[in-house]
């Protein structure tokens, strides 16, 4: 219970950082933080304290559910490609506007 609430706190902090950061790079970083926290939430939910990893060995024991883990690997790979695309966009935005500050960027957008 305590662990789940701490993970929810992480998700909340990630959302807060995403909403309040003024620097574009910082926003992208907090998007990744949020994603990692959500992955942790799913893994914690399907965690058996006395279980083993979902790999068949001679040791035996009850394995953890492998389905959420397979989905989370998909999430990580897609998150990496989204981040790469977002970073390229940030470079282009910097070259065109000369700043990465959300506030100044929005002002420039309004002026045009």
């Amino acid at each position: 219970m305590l662990q789940l609430s701490l993970i929810l706190l992480m998700i909340g902090l990630g959302l807060y950082g995403l909403a309040t950061s003024r620097h574009l790079i910082k926003s992208i970083i907090f998007l990744n933080v949020l994603e990692a926290a959500v992955i942790l939430f799913f893994l914690r939910l399907f965690y058996l304290p006395e279980g083993t990893a979902p790999i068949i060995t001679s040791l035996g024991g009850e394995a953890v559910d492998p389905l959420p883990q397979a989905l989370m690997i998909t999430t990580i790979v897609i998150g990496a490609s989204v981040t790469a695309l977002a970073l390229m966009m940030s470079i282009k935005i910097y070259h065109q506007y000369g700043t990465l500050d959300w506030k100044i960027l929005l002002e420039k957008e309004d002026n045009q």
Partner: protein, 233 residues
């Protein structure tokens, strides 16, 4: 200040709501029925000891192939954005900026590390069905090894076109490898050996698939990386 306070209040409310919603889940240890099936029958059906790889490479192979396709799309997007003239720098560059030289110790360490990283990446890829790992993870490690090789002057090549072509060809290979089972077993996107064959032979399909996915992921990430470095030059 008021804005931040409101935001904090809002997130606090969401946090409390999520807490009450997830409280009954904390001690119940839920298990999906699919997961149970995979644990009990996974090795017999897919010949993969790593059950996560069994799901990724057999049960939902269709999804995995197009997940690799997303990386292709991302690399294409980066290529497009870095080449498009509408956004790029308005002036021709008159003089190369003075780039500080890399230190000798970095160069020496990367020379030693480079083959070991390649070895580790291929190990992770090839043994992806027996131990933790697989195409995606090994591909990322291979890409990281390529990033290190940028520091080695005689290995650095900056042309992304062959890599781009390689990635497309590998994606088509993946698709066709997934479709072979349509002719041998009558069902697409699964192992092309039937279930009665020895698992040691059926592993071949998984190793091939892992290799293709690994090479594809590493070439896609390398394209993205080289475009990042070359951007603005």
């Amino acid at each position: 200040m008021i804005k931040k306070l409101m935001l904090l209040l809002m997130f606090g409310f969401i946090f409390l709501y999520a807490l009450t919603a997830t409280a009954p889940l904390a001690d119940s240890f839920p298990e999906t029925s699919i997961g149970e099936t995979v644990i009990h029958r996974g090795y017999d059906e897919t010949a993969s000891k790593n059950l996560v790889a069994a799901i990724l490479l057999d049960y939902r192979l269709f999804d995995s192939i197009f997940e690799a396709g997303i990386l292709l799309i991302s690399a294409a997007g980066v290529l497009y954005m870095s080449r498009s003239s509408g956004f790029s720098k308005p002036f021709p560059r008159a003089k190369e900026a003075a780039v500080p030289k890399d230190s000798d110790s970095i160069l020496a360490v990367s020379r030693i590390l480079y083959p070991f990283m390649l070895l580790f990446g291929f190990y992770i890829i090839v043994f992806g069905d027996l131990s933790p790992g697989g195409g995606f993870q090994g591909g990322v490690i291979l890409a990281t090894a390529r990033l290190i090789s940028v520091y080695i002057p005689e290995k650095a090549s900056e042309n992304t076109d062959p890599l781009n072509r390689l990635e497309k060809i590998l994606f088509l290979c993946l698709l066709s490898l997934g479709l072979i089972s349509l002719f041998t077993r009558g069902a697409p996107f699964t192992n092309f050996f039937s279930g009665s064959v020895d698992p040691e032979f059926r592993r071949l399909f998984l190793v091939l698939l892992n290799l293709l996915i690994g090479l594809k992921v590493s070439s896609g990430l390398t394209i993205i990386f080289i475009r990042f470095i070359k951007e603005g030059k």
